[in-house]
Symmetry: D2
Subunit: 498 residues, 4 copies
Amino acid sequence: MNEEGELELREACGIFGCVATKNQQVPLDVPTVISLGLVGLQHRGQESAGIVTTYGKDVYQISKVKGMGLVNQIFKPESLEKLKGNIGIGHTRYSTAGASQIDNCQPFIVETMHGLISVAHNGELINAKKLKRKVLSSGIGLSTGSDSEVITQLLSSSPPNGEPNGPDWPARIKWLMTKTPTSYSLVVMHKDVVYAVRDPLGNRPLCIGKVLPGTGSLPNINECADQEAHGWIVSSESCSFQAIGASYYREVEPGEIVALTESGVKSVGIVERPDNGLPAFCIFEYVYFSRPDTLLEGQMVYTVRKRCGMMLAHEAPVAADLVSTVPESATPAAMGFSIESGIPYVEVLCKNRYEGRTFIQPSSRLRQLGVAKKFGALTDNLKNQRIVLIDDSIVRGNTMGPIVKLLKKSGAKEVHIRVASPPLKHPCYMGINIPTREELIANKMDEELLAYHFGADSVRYLSVDGLQTAVKEGIKDKGKAGHCVACLTGTYPVKLEW
Amino acid sequence: MNEEGELELREACGIFGCVATKNQQVPLDVPTVISLGLVGLQHRGQESAGIVTTYGKDVYQISKVKGMGLVNQIFKPESLEKLKGNIGIGHTRYSTAGASQIDNCQPFIVETMHGLISVAHNGELINAKKLKRKVLSSGIGLSTGSDSEVITQLLSSSPPNGEPNGPDWPARIKWLMTKTPTSYSLVVMHKDVVYAVRDPLGNRPLCIGKVLPGTGSLPNINECADQEAHGWIVSSESCSFQAIGASYYREVEPGEIVALTESGVKSVGIVERPDNGLPAFCIFEYVYFSRPDTLLEGQMVYTVRKRCGMMLAHEAPVAADLVSTVPESATPAAMGFSIESGIPYVEVLCKNRYEGRTFIQPSSRLRQLGVAKKFGALTDNLKNQRIVLIDDSIVRGNTMGPIVKLLKKSGAKEVHIRVASPPLKHPCYMGINIPTREELIANKMDEELLAYHFGADSVRYLSVDGLQTAVKEGIKDKGKAGHCVACLTGTYPVKLEW
Amino acid sequence: MNEEGELELREACGIFGCVATKNQQVPLDVPTVISLGLVGLQHRGQESAGIVTTYGKDVYQISKVKGMGLVNQIFKPESLEKLKGNIGIGHTRYSTAGASQIDNCQPFIVETMHGLISVAHNGELINAKKLKRKVLSSGIGLSTGSDSEVITQLLSSSPPNGEPNGPDWPARIKWLMTKTPTSYSLVVMHKDVVYAVRDPLGNRPLCIGKVLPGTGSLPNINECADQEAHGWIVSSESCSFQAIGASYYREVEPGEIVALTESGVKSVGIVERPDNGLPAFCIFEYVYFSRPDTLLEGQMVYTVRKRCGMMLAHEAPVAADLVSTVPESATPAAMGFSIESGIPYVEVLCKNRYEGRTFIQPSSRLRQLGVAKKFGALTDNLKNQRIVLIDDSIVRGNTMGPIVKLLKKSGAKEVHIRVASPPLKHPCYMGINIPTREELIANKMDEELLAYHFGADSVRYLSVDGLQTAVKEGIKDKGKAGHCVACLTGTYPVKLEW
Amino acid sequence: MNEEGELELREACGIFGCVATKNQQVPLDVPTVISLGLVGLQHRGQESAGIVTTYGKDVYQISKVKGMGLVNQIFKPESLEKLKGNIGIGHTRYSTAGASQIDNCQPFIVETMHGLISVAHNGELINAKKLKRKVLSSGIGLSTGSDSEVITQLLSSSPPNGEPNGPDWPARIKWLMTKTPTSYSLVVMHKDVVYAVRDPLGNRPLCIGKVLPGTGSLPNINECADQEAHGWIVSSESCSFQAIGASYYREVEPGEIVALTESGVKSVGIVERPDNGLPAFCIFEYVYFSRPDTLLEGQMVYTVRKRCGMMLAHEAPVAADLVSTVPESATPAAMGFSIESGIPYVEVLCKNRYEGRTFIQPSSRLRQLGVAKKFGALTDNLKNQRIVLIDDSIVRGNTMGPIVKLLKKSGAKEVHIRVASPPLKHPCYMGINIPTREELIANKMDEELLAYHFGADSVRYLSVDGLQTAVKEGIKDKGKAGHCVACLTGTYPVKLEW
C-alpha cells in the first residue's frame, strides 16, 4: 500500500484524553501531555488537530485551540498557553478530499441544557443516514451533517432512564450506544470527567495509560507500575504513551464506558452486543493503520505484521535471491518472509523523503517516470537478482507497475510480488474510505492477470484464513476475539440499513 | 547522525542545469526537467529553491522563479508556466540559522558588460575573506557578502587573456579558478550555454547525464545508450537522473569546465591543481550527505556505506544477538555489519514520520522524553537482547544517550554502539557547518567515557584508515583518487589563509 | 464619532439577496451581483463575508464561498467561479473582538427535515438568553451559541399551522417572529425562494431593488422604471444599488415577509407589532451607520445629517470664523451648520488615509501625539481663527481632546465643539455594541465639564427632540414612523427579559 | 486624478532619517520615530517599507527590518524590537507593476572597503542608462539593475579628491552628484552620520525637522523653538513632523549635503547647478503627490491647490449652481474655485472607502457600472443642478466619463469639468511613471472633443502659466525658484542622454 491517498480514514482519526490526578505536588501539564499524545497519533490524521481543556468547575469555562495542519505546527508555545485546565481531550483528523476545512476540525464543543460537552470521534456510523433522518425529523437543524454532529445532537437530546433531560451522561451515552452499534471510539468531556467510549463491536481501538510520576525518567511502558498515578490518559493507540512517560494500563472493552477523573479510572457501564456476538475489531488496524509499536489486543502490531510475512512465505513460496520491500510500511512483513523462507533481506529501493505530494505536472514523456521521483533503485543490490517484493496491501494498483518496471530497467532478473493481506474487494462503511468496487483492482484482475499487468513474474496474496491466523496467534483469549473482515469477504458485522 | 540540524551544509546545496538538444520533434520541457531534478536533490537543501531559464538568443531575456520552502511547494503548474526557455539552471538551498531569507536564494542573476549571467553555487570558498577584501578594495560594493556574490563579482571583473573585458566566459571562469582552489561546484549560464564547473580539488560532486528520447519508458540509467540525446543535464548527484529519464554520462573532473549547448557536451578547459596534488573530494559525501543511490567516483554510495559497516564489524567486533540502526541513515552500514559479523539484522526502533521540528516545549518532566516523540521502541524485538546499534556519525552526541535509555527501559540487555565513521574533531571551511571544537563530543570524551555518558555497554568508531579503505575499494583508478578528511585529522588540503 | 472602534454593530452587519428573473436572454450573473452588492455594504462589516447560491431545483445542491477580510479580497474571479446558481444570498460581518473567526462567518447553511436553508442575519435578539434556554431545554445542542444559530434552530423546529413539520417556510418565519419582536433583518433562502424579513419593530433597515436590463447603461436609480425586471435584489441599504444597475423599489415593511422568486416580488405575510405600537427604527442608522447616499424611510441619509447640522446651528449658535469637521463622517452636518449659521465651511484637518489600526506602540513621549498620526493640521486655514468643529457623536471621548490640542497648537484662536446627536448614555441590546455606562463619557461629564476636559471653548450637543425633528422632517407619513432612541433616553421599545 | 494607478512614482518614494542628540536624559526612541515618520509618508508608497538603524560605533553593526505592505503591518512591536540604535534611516516604496518584490525594498545596505553604508533613494536618474553602462564597463556586476544600485556602486567606487579610496563620504557623494544632476533625494547612513542629499536641480523634496523634548506636549510645528533638540530628522515631506513632536527647521537646498549627527545638523557641501541655472522642482508635487499639510518652498500644499482652483475660476468661468469635486484629492481646488466664483461648494459624490482595487470582474453588463462601486451619487444635492466638477489632473481619462454619466443619470442638469492643472502630454524621466504619449488623452483630444467624449457640457484646463503663477505666488524669493514642467511642455531641465 504505497499508493498514497488510496486508503483513507473518513471520520476515523486519532483521539486522546487526559486527566490530572488530584493533590499532586507538581500538577500534570495536561495541555502539553495532550499535544504530545497527538504527535504520537499523527499518522492517523494530518489535516487538522484540536485540543479542548477545562478546570471542570464551571460547565461553561472551557478553552480550545484548533487549526489546520500538523500537531507541531498548531500547538506552539503561544497557543498551548491559551489552554487552561487539569483535564482535556484532543483530536487529530485525516485529510479527505473536499471536506478539508476548519469547520470539521474536532473536538466539537456543544452547549446543552446541562452545560457544555466536548466530543472527539474516531469512526463512521454504519447507519448514519438513518440516524440523521431521525435527528432531522425531531426538528433539529444540522449545520455540518457529519457523523460527529449527529452524535452530539443525540447525546444532547437523549432521554435516559425515563428522566428525559437529566444530566446523567453515562446513561445518555449508553442510550446513544443502543441506537448505533458501530463504528466509533469517543472521548466525551463534561465538567470534570472524561468518558472513554468504544462501540459495542469494538471496531476502532482505544486504550488507557497511566502517567507515572518522577521527572524525566523513562518508565517501563510494558509494566504498569505500582506507583500512584500522576494522571490518566486515553488514546487511540498506545504508541503515544512512551513520549509522555506513561505505561500501558488496559484497553477500553467493546461497549464499555470508562470515566477518567482526578480520583482515577472507573468503568461506569457496558453495553452488550446484539445477540451476544463476537466483537468486530477492524483487521486493517493490524494490516495498515496502526503504528508498528502499538499494542492491540495485547500484541505488538510489528509482530503481527512479521507473522503475516511468515505466513505468506509459507502460503506462497518462491525461489529467489533476496526479499525486499517498498519502503516503509511493508518492512515488518518482508522481515517475516525472509525469516520463514531463509532468503536474505536486502534493500532495493531508496526513498526520497521530501517527495510528498508533488504538484509538478510533468509532460506526457515524464509522467510515467513519476515513481522514480519517489524511489531510487539501488542497482548494486539488485542487478541480476531474483527479487521477492513484499507489499502490505494493493488497492487501486497504480504504483506497483512502475516500481516493477524501475527494478527491471535497473537490472533485476525476476520480480515476484507477495502481498501480506488478502485481495480488497468490498466497500467499508465503518470509517475507511475504500474506493468503489470498480476502482479496486482485485475486482478486475486475478493474480495471474495482475502479474501480467504489473510486468511481474508472479503475484500472490495472503489468504483471509492466513491473515486471521496470523492475527489471532498472539491473542491470549482467542475465543473472545473477533475481527471485521468485511472489505475482504463482503460479510458485514451488522445488517446494513440506509 | 540522527541529531537533527547538527551537520549542515553552509553554502553547499544542490545545483542543476539542463540544455535541450536542437532540432527535436518534441522539444524537451526544460523547466519541468529542472524542477524534477531539484526534487531529487531536495535532501541537499530544504530552505529555498530557484530556477532560471532562457531561450539564449537575447542576453537580457531571462525568466526566473524563486521561493522559500520545498521544491514541490514552489514549482506548481502556475509558477512553472512563467519559466520560458530551452536552457536553464536551478538551485536548492540548505537552511542555516539566521540567513534564512529570500535574498540569498539562488541562482543569482547578474548583469555584466556582456549581458546577464546566472550562477548557482555549491560549496564554500576556503579563502573567502581574503577574496572579499580583494573585491572591496577594487571599489565594488557588496550587498549580501555571500561567497556566491564574491564569485559573481570576480566573474564580472576578471581580465582573461590580457583582454580585460572580453566575453570569453571559459577564460573568465578559469581565471576565477586560479584565484581560489576550492570549494565550489558551479553551473554558470550565459546566453545559450551552461558551464558546469568543479573546483581544482574536486571538493563537491558534479556529474553529467544524457536525457534519452522516447515517451515514458524508463531508461536503463546505468548504461548511456547510443541513442541521440534529447538533452543534457548536470547535477550535484546522479540520484536525480532516473526521475527525468536520463542516463549517467560521466562526472565533471576536478578543475574541469564543461560546456552544455544544444549541440551537445564539450570540455572547454581544465585548471591544474597546485603542485599537481591529488584531489580532495569530501569524504562526508559518502558518510552522510549524498543519497544512497547516487554514484560518486563510479561507485554507489549505498555500497560504500555497507562496506563501512563491514569494515567496522571487522575492526570492532562484539558478541551480540542482533544488529540494528537508528532509522534511517545508518541502515546500509548496519546491513554491512550484519553480513560481516553474521549477527542478524533486526529493527528495534520505529520512527514517527511526522515528528519534524517540534515547537512543543514540554515541561521539565517531559523534556527528557523528547527522543520518545521521535522513536518508538519495538519491545517484542529487543527484550532481553544484546544489541549492536549502528550510527553513521556522532557530532554533538545529544541524541544517543536518550536512545540507549529508551532501549534499555524497553528491555534491552546490552547496547553496543558502533559508529561507521571516525571521531569528528576539526572544523570544516569548505561548506560543512561543523560545530566548534568545544561542541564536538569527540574532543571531550574518548570511547570509554562516551559509553559511560550514553549508558551504553561499549562505543567504538571506525578508524580513518578503515573509512578510506572502504571508500577506495570501489574506485577503479585508485592512484588518481584523493579525499578530504580534514574534519577527522585536522590536515587541510590547502593552506588556510584569512 | 472618529473614535475608531467605539461603536460597533454586534451581530448587525450587511445582508443581501438576489434572484434572476426567468426567461431572460442573457441571464443575470447572480454571484457577481451579490458580490458587488456586498462591496456596497462593506461599511457595515469588514471582518468576513460569505455568499451562498443555488439553482433552486435540488434542496441539497448549494454552493458557498466564505472568508475573512474584505469582500474584494474574498471574491476574486477564481472564487466567484465556484458559485453556481440563479438565486443567492450574501453577508458581510463586523469585526468584534474575540469572536473574529471563520466559524461565525455567515450565511449559515443548515440542513432541516425539508432540505437545506441558508440564513443571513443583521441585528441582535433583544431576548436572546431566554430564547436560547428555550432551544436548549428542547434537547438541542448549540455549537456556536450565536443569535443566528438560535434563529436557525427555531426555524428548523417551529410547528407552523398545527402541522408540526410542514415545509411552509413563511409560516415558520412568522412563528419565529411571534417569539421575538426584535432586532433582526433576515434573508432566508430555501430552494428557489429568497425570503426578505424585517422584524415587527423594523429596527434594522432592509429594502428591495429592481435590476434593470440593458448592457451597461446606468439606470436612473430614483425611478423604478416600467421595464421588465432582469432580476430582484434585497439589501440592507440602497447605496449598493447603483453599482448593480438596479433601481430603488421599496422598503420591506416592519414585520413583513417578502418572497423573491424568478417570477417576481410578492409580500407573503406580515406580523403585527404587539399592542399595535409604532415601529422602532434605530435612529443611529441616520446618525452614523448608513452610507450617506442610502435612502431610509424615503429620505437620503446625507440630507438628514445636513438637517441635523442645521438644527444644531439653530439650537447652539456661536460666533466664529469658520465651521469645520473631523473628516469624514461629520461633513454633512458641518455643511448644514454652515448653511444655517452663514459661517463659511473650511477644512482644517487632513486625514492620513493609510493610518488604519496602528500597531506601532510609541513610547510615552510619543503616545499622546497619536492623533497626529491620523490627522494633519492645515495651519494656513486655521491660524488665528475661531473654529466651530462638528462631530456626529461622542462615545468614550478619547479622540476629541487631542484634536482640540492639535488645532490650538497649530494656531486656532477658539475651538467650539458641536455634536450633531444627543449624549449617548444607555446600552443597546439590539445590535450596537455600545460600551458600558461607565465608559460613556456623557454619563461622567456635562457639556461644561467636557469643554474643560477637551480644552475646548465650548461643547454643545443636539437635543433628542432636535434629532427626532430633523429625522422626521423628510418622512412623508410621519404618523406611521417611529424610532428607537433607547441609547439616548433609556426607554426601550419592548420590555427587557433575560 | 481619480484614475487609480495612472500616475505612479517609479523609484520615487518616501525617505526618512533620524539621529538622537547626545547626552539626553531620556534618549530618543529612534526606530519608533522613523516608523511614525514613514506612516506620515505612506501616501508616497504603499508597496514595501524598511528601516535600518545602528549605534554608529562599529561600521559592521547594523540592524534592519524590511517587508511588503503598509508601514503599520511591517513595524509591529516585535519587529521594532529588533531595531537597535540611536541613528537610522527608512524608506517606503511605491508599488509598480511587475517589480513588486522584496528584493527591491530599501534601504539598501552595501559593504564597501570602508564598512557598511545604507542608502534610501527617492527619484529616478535621468541618464540612468549611460551611468549603468559606465558601472558595468568598469567590471562590476549588477544584480538588480535599479537606479539605486547604480548609485550605491558609484558611491562605493568613487575616487574623490584624487585619493582613490578614502573614507571621505561627503566627497564621494559630491563626486556622485557631478556625474548625475537629477533626480534624487537621498539619505545615506555611514557609521554615526546620516547624510541628507538633494540633487542639484532639487527635483524631489527633502526637509529637516527638529525633535523637541518634553513628554507628549504637541509642539507648535510652525515655529522652530529655541529649546535644545532631542534629535533631528530628515523627511521627504514635513507632514510627518507633527506625529513625532518635531518642528519644521528648513529644506535641504538643491545640491546640498547636510550631515546629521548626535551633535546637530551641519551643511557639509553644495554642488552647483550646471550653468548656474534655476532649480527644477517637480511641479506635480504641488498638483498631486504631496500631502496637503506639507510645506514646500515655504508654502502649504493645500493653499497652493486652493490658489490653482481660484486661478481656474478666473481663467475658465462658467454659470453654475454648485461647485463640487471627485473626492478627495481635488477638494482644495474646488474650495478655491468656489471662493473665487462665488458659486457654493456642495458634495455630490460619496466615496466607498473600502472599494480599493477590486478583483471582482463583472460581466459586460456590469463592467461599465464600475465607477458606481467607488462612488455613490448624492441625488438630493444634485438634482436639476448645474455642476462645476473639479479634478486635479486628467491622465488617461478613463474615469471621468462614467462619473459624468452617473451624475447625469442621477439628475444633474449640466456638468462642467474644470481641471486644476494643464494637459499632461509628455513622458517624465525623473521618477514619475507617466504613460506613453499614446495613452495620454491630452495627446488625442482637445477640450471640446473631451467634453463630447465625457458627455460633459464643457471641459477646461488650467494654463501652464496659471499653474506656475499659482505656485510661485506663495514663494518668498521668487527669483531663486524654478520648477520642472517637462510633462506639460516637453522642455526638460537637462539634455536627455541615453
